[in-house]
Symmetry: D2
Subunit: 140 residues, 4 copies
């Protein structure tokens, strides 16, 4: 079994279908069942208290699983999230990038499930965890 996309193909494809995200996320490491994504934390990610906002961490988890699924099934831009559960466990500092470690737990014909731990760069304690289900459109 092989990945459908290399890390460079994945990067190029995401930049093509989500041009507004360009420069926000970097794919650092891609394996058959795992992907590491870096979010470059900037002003618009923050909320009161000088911490990264919930929607920003949700977006990071969502991109990580989406990209992991595409790496497996190919250029299926219309794959859609059907469910996400996310726990916010600690406040990330405002001045570090966030790293998402995604594991792909299931990649079926119809549904894929992945989970994600989010860490501040260089910190071993996760600030958030998430699990997401994606619905994969029928090939055609």
């Amino acid at each position: 079994m092989e990945l459908a996309l290399t890390i460079n193909e994945l990067t190029a494809y995401l930049a093509e279908i989500f041009p507004q995200m360009r420069g926000e996320f970097e794919f650092e490491n891609l394996r058959f069942n795992a992907l590491r994504v870096r979010m470059k934390v900037a002003e618009h990610h923050l909320r009161p208290g000088g911490t990264v906002s919930g929607p920003s961490m949700f977006a990071l988890a969502d991109v990580a699983v989406y990209a992991m699924v595409l790496a497996r099934v190919g250029r299926q831009a219309l794959a859609v999230t059907t469910n996400c559960s996310i726990d916010f466990m600690r406040k990330p500092a405002a001045n570090s990038d966030l790293i998402a470690d995604c594991r792909l737990l299931k990649c079926g014909k119809v549904l894929a499930v992945g989970d994600v731990l989010i860490f501040p760069d260089g910190d071993a304690k996760p600030v958030a965890r998430a699990s997401l289900t994606y619905s994969i459109p029928p090939a055609g």
Copy 2:
């Protein structure tokens, strides 16, 4: 039992603590256990396929429960989401505002729980549902 904030006070407080959101969300109806919020859908909310993105709907659900909790407990900007579960059920059209109907199910001293149904304006079928837990900082 009374609300801690009126709908105008809530609007002013959110604009103060989240200036970047100004104009994005409108509070349309506030009751003791319920709040209706409108998200003015714009270009930056969209994703491939011409539909509102998951993170945008997450942000709407998050704001709705956050605002509902503040309406009850007062100006506690540091209340934080500890958990969210969200189901994306249908694709919202790109050209309608989204309406979030939030119910506050629990408002304890430490934790508050609310759920949200999200509808395109004028459509009876929900496009998403979410439930969120907020941790309320100790008063003082």
Copy 3:
């Protein structure tokens, strides 16, 4: 649009496929998008502190959405839960039945989504809320 099963047919079908549940759950009210289920709380539902256990409330929510989906799609015993998110908000007293009010939010060809509020009989404050996704096997 009509329901595929009446409340009596639903009761008979569940008793047939889950004989071990007989007498534990009663379907009290069935509409096109909603079902009320009563769980007769007994000793084996309890946990330390004299309250109904989490797994018992999970089972109630799961049965409520499962039965609601079957009422719509017919005798599809092999429909399976793919996801559940549940919040436990208050401790139910040990000496009341629990009532689950289920709403069916989506009933697609592949996935159905419902949510549930659980109340002690005669009490207006919910003790738990849950949302569940069911995968419906292809007809045939």
Copy 4:
């Protein structure tokens, strides 16, 4: 930092507070942030189609995180689940025990968060994943 309970103390304490569970769960491996639990699958865990039921897997995940939290904070029987999100990904065969691998992701003063992967004994593919939040009562 040390665990508050050894694996033998944990086993004895759970048997004391949940006598009805005796023999159903075995704690196989306890570390500072991780616990492995075996569920001895029996007839009453099954559902139509010859597979382990959702509530049984929920109970396994719930026990795993509960026991992990008690191993850290001591004999706090009244710790309660406030939230669980669970994904059912594959059908477990009826004739294998299930193994739950729990990681403790946060153990704060008020809230603890853990996640769990559930595998059939001897199988590398997870059948379910869950994440749970526990509320820890104030010491006293």
